[in-house]
């Protein structure tokens, strides 16, 4: 069962109206309204981006995009129905506006007219349907299949696209901003997933998977005051030292990932700025709650109090991040629980919970690889040191990076994971914590939580909604199966020659992966 519960909630009439007006309000600000320019951006130059990811086995098929190289490519070449702004609000992109039915089960998106592809064709409503359809259906191999599964029908009506959902969902426009869902040209109701065409700010000139991609500006781009570079180059530089050297010696202008071991030295290099954005990216250690000893919440609590979160933030993240509280909602989000007690390293409490579980000591293996998150093995080593003080013998098993996500994650009872986070509380909880979700890593099943999730999706009263999300965070933190010790910042670096807006998006790396259209050369 992989059906995502995103669309299963009932949404009341008032909730939709309110949600729609709030979203509509963001839309009314206009394309540039939310942006506060620090200096007058100038046109010109070629932006060279060094990236830590990118594989020779990447593919142009949007359903396969999973690493930062391809996701940045997606936002450089393409546009989406909606766009998440640096401040976290949603605004229309290829859609000009949207409107929901009273029960939020039917959504009408009006497509912006006159938007041109690089090939010269114009974006149509049929293109939008074909682009989404690519991820649906029995034969879909798309990673985005679970998030569009709730759509039961799509039809075009002039420049309108009407989506019918299985059940109401107030967050539907947010989902349309997902990086798997670019708008691509279609013929006979189907897109060619291998096309290099797009309607985004830059035309793709050349792409060698795992090596580099080059772009030139799309002169017919519809947005004003965007896409200031004449061209963009993406270069995959996997090695941390090579990446830093490339920036310091001026072979690239921006690198998307900095080795946290040496970030303090990087900061001292002249002409280099370190960019640290804390958002919803978090690292976790999921336990399989179906299996002993993790099936006992006392054991889970004991393990949660045996980890020194501050030490992990200081050492593994070198201070570039913040401590987590075993739930995936970040302090910047709307319904972050401010009243929840922050867990700290407390060996006595850990021992207390062990006793509650009827144990004197505990022996567990934790299976980690740096594929789970950068520094995972070191984090495990640090954790085992503090756990020992609580009478827990935590044995770190180093797993190969190769095959980690298929062989260890969600297979071994105690392992590591990372999440880029999701723009809404509902999306995050539904993806990884609700019962039956494909990526419920801890196989956690809490009746109260599952009820609240559906209820909150439908609730329109902000205060009541806040209360519900507060309780859900409490449940995830104190009953859930995932230890979330830290929120990791996105740490990149760029040369003095580059300039950006005051606010930088925190939903993804690289200014929401839209650096190509948001930044400029000073």
């Amino acid at each position: 069962m992989t059906k995502t519960p995103l669309f299963t909630g009932g949404v009341s009439r008032r909730g939709v109206l309110k949600g729609a007006s709030a979203l509509g309000g963001a839309a009314l600000l206009g394309p540039m309204g939310a942006r506060m320019a620090r200096a007058q951006p100038t046109q010109g130059g070629v932006l060279r981006i060094g990236q830590a990811h990118g594989s020779t086995t990447d593919s142009l098929d949007p359903g396969s995009w999973e690493n930062d190289f391809m996701i940045l490519q997606a936002h450089t070449r393409n546009n989406f129905l909606t766009e998440i702004m640096p401040d976290g609000t949603l605004r229309p992109e290829i859609a000009e506006s949207w409107e929901a039915s009273a029960d939020a089960a039917e959504w009408v998106f009006t497509i912006r007219s006159g938007v041109q592809y690089h090939s010269g064709r114009t974006v149509t409503a049929e293109d939008v349907i074909a682009s989404i359809n690519h991820h649906r259906g029995e034969d879909s191999t798309s990673a985005a299949k679970p998030i569009v599964e709730g759509i039961t029908e799509m039809r075009a009506d002039g420049m309108n696209v009407i989506f019918t959902l299985e059940s109401g969902n107030a967050d539907f426009p947010f989902i349309m901003s997902d990086y798997h869902l670019p708008i691509l040209p279609s013929t006979d109701g189907a897109i060619d997933p291998m096309t290099t065409d797009g309607c985004g700010p830059y035309r793709l000139d050349d792409l060698e998977f795992g090596v580099s991609a080059t772009y030139s500006r799309h002169d017919g781009y519809w947005k004003d005051n965007a896409a200031y570079f004449d061209g963009v180059e993406q270069i995959a530089i996997h090695d941390a030292a090579a990446r830093q050297n490339a920036l310091i010696s001026g072979q690239v202008d921006y690198i998307d990932t900095v080795d946290l071991n040496t970030v303090h030295l990087m900061q001292r290099a002249p002409g280099i700025n370190v960019l640290s954005i804390t958002g919803s990216q978090h690292y976790g250690l999921p336990m399989d709650t179906r299996e002993a000893p993790f099936s006992d919440n006392n054991v889970r609590q004991a393990l949660k109090y045996a980890i020194d979160r501050q030490q992990l933030v200081d050492t593994i993240l070198n201070g570039y991040g913040s401590v987590g509280n075993d739930h995936p909602i970040s302090p910047g989000q709307r319904f972050f629980n401010t009243e929840l007690e922050q867990k700290t390293f407390d060996p006595d409490r850990s021992r207390y919970y062990l006793q509650q579980a009827g144990l004197d000591s505990l022996d567990v293996d934790i299976h980690l690889a740096d594929a789970a998150f950068a520094g995972a093995i070191d984090a495990g080593v640090l954790y085992s040191e503090t756990a020992a003080q609580a009478g827990i013998n935590l044995n770190v098993v180093r797993e190969p990076n190769d095959g980690y996500w298929s062989n260890v994650w969600m297979q071994k009872p105690f392992c590591g994971t990372y999440w880029g986070g999701r723009p809404t509380e509902d999306w995050m909880f539904a993806t990884a914590y609700s019962e039956g979700a494909a990526w419920n890593e801890s196989y956690w099943s809490n009746e109260r939580f599952n009820e609240l999730l559906i209820e909150a999706r439908a609730e329109l009263n902000e205060d009541l909604r806040r209360e519900m999300y507060f309780e859900m965070q409490d449940l995830v933190a104190n009953d859930g199966g995932t230890i979330i010790p830290m929120f990791a910042a996105y740490v990149g670096a760029y040369s003095d020659a580059l300039a950006h807006n005051d606010q930088i998006a925190s939903n993804w790396r690289n200014d929401g992966h839209r650096i190509s259209e948001r930044w400029w050369f000073a």
Partner: protein
């Protein structure tokens, strides 16, 4: 000489057998790896349904032996198939990278082989002198550093801020030959440092091993200069092990340099192989493995032919 030709043909035949067994071994090993293409391709986003759909569409749900036979049949018809991941023909994916790999290997070999022969001969000539010890100690020090570390040090010295050489060795923008040599200078020097010690020490050891032989004594007694004794009398008889080690190192330069490729962002075959193994992209893995194996077989054959030619007793072996 017909003896040599017979040997070459026999060895080429055996070479094809080797390639066949290598392809079988690699196929089996990749099958044994945890996870298949569908799971690795989707990674953290995999769901049972999408994994099943991928397997169905690419024929991965067929039994193992059928997939291997299909692949083999294709290769025998000259068709290496397309990448499972991005549906590009394997030949296209490999083409440019093979050129890059050979270019760097030849570049490094052109520096390393003459250098190590020369140093080896000189070290044998001045054995146990300060020069000998110094050359030995430096060569040994350079190979005791891991490749990536040698690369980092070279980058720090020669490519850092305002450095003389680029730390990224790519061929974007169609450089001319000199420019290519310039851009790949650092990786070539790194590889030179990595392989020189091995060849140099074998040259030295093989020569010294012969110096006590009666015929060398004889040559020396006739009043030949030590240099002449080594080059004219010792070296030809010491060639077999030296050629052997050179062939091994050349094969290494073609097949084993993935770490150097990663550090210098050089698009060669090693990176392609590692990525494809990680993604379980079988057609690509197989094709690269075959290229590596063929390179090894050919170099090996050349080494054996040369070694045989260098020793008349082997040519006329009963």
């Amino acid at each position: 000489m017909s003896h040599i030709w017979k040997m070459v043909f026999k060895r080429l035949g055996l070479g094809f057998l080797t390639l066949f067994i290598v392809s079988l071994l690699i196929f089996l090993a990749t099958e044994l790896l945890p996870g298949d293409f569908a799971q690795e391709f989707l990674g953290q986003s995999a769901t049972p349904e999408t994994v099943a759909a991928i397997r169905r569409q690419l024929g991965l749900d067929l039994p193992m032996h059928i997939r291997y036979i299909q692949w083999l049949a294709g290769v025998l018809h000259g068709d290496f198939g397309t990448s499972l991941a991005n549906h590009r023909p394997v030949i296209d994916l490999i083409g440019g990278r093979l050129g890059n790999t050979l270019f760097l290997a030849l570049y490094a070999a052109a520096i390393a082989v003459p250098l190590s022969l020369m140093l080896g001969i000189l070290a044998a000539l001045f054995r146990n002198s300060f020069f000998d010890r110094f050359v030995n100690a430096s060569a040994l020090t350079s190979i005791s550093f891991p490749e990536f570390f040698v690369a980092y040090i070279l980058i720090f010295w020669l490519a850092g801020m305002g450095g003389m050489f680029p730390s990224m060795a790519n061929f974007r923008g169609d450089p001319n030959f000199l420019d290519m040599l310039y851009r790949t200078f650092l990786p070539a020097i790194t590889l030179t440092l990595v392989v020189t010690a091995h060849m140099m020490r074998m040259t030295r050891a093989a020569i010294i091993n012969l110096l006590a032989s009666p015929y060398i004594e004889m040559a020396r007694l006739k009043g030949m200069t030590p240099m002449r004794v080594i080059v004219r009398h010792a070296l030809p008889n010491a060639l077999a092990p030296i050629i052997n080690v050179i062939a091994l190192n050349l094969a290494y330069l073609i097949t084993g340099v993935v770490v150097v490729e990663v550090v210098f962002v050089y698009p060669g075959l090693g990176q392609l192989m590692v990525d494809s193994v990680a993604a379980r992209d079988m057609p690509v893995v197989q094709a690269v493995a075959l290229i590596f194996a063929a390179a090894y077989v050919l170099l090996n054959l050349t080494a054996d032919v040369l070694a045989t030619l260098s020793n008349p007793r082997l040519v006329h072996r009963r």
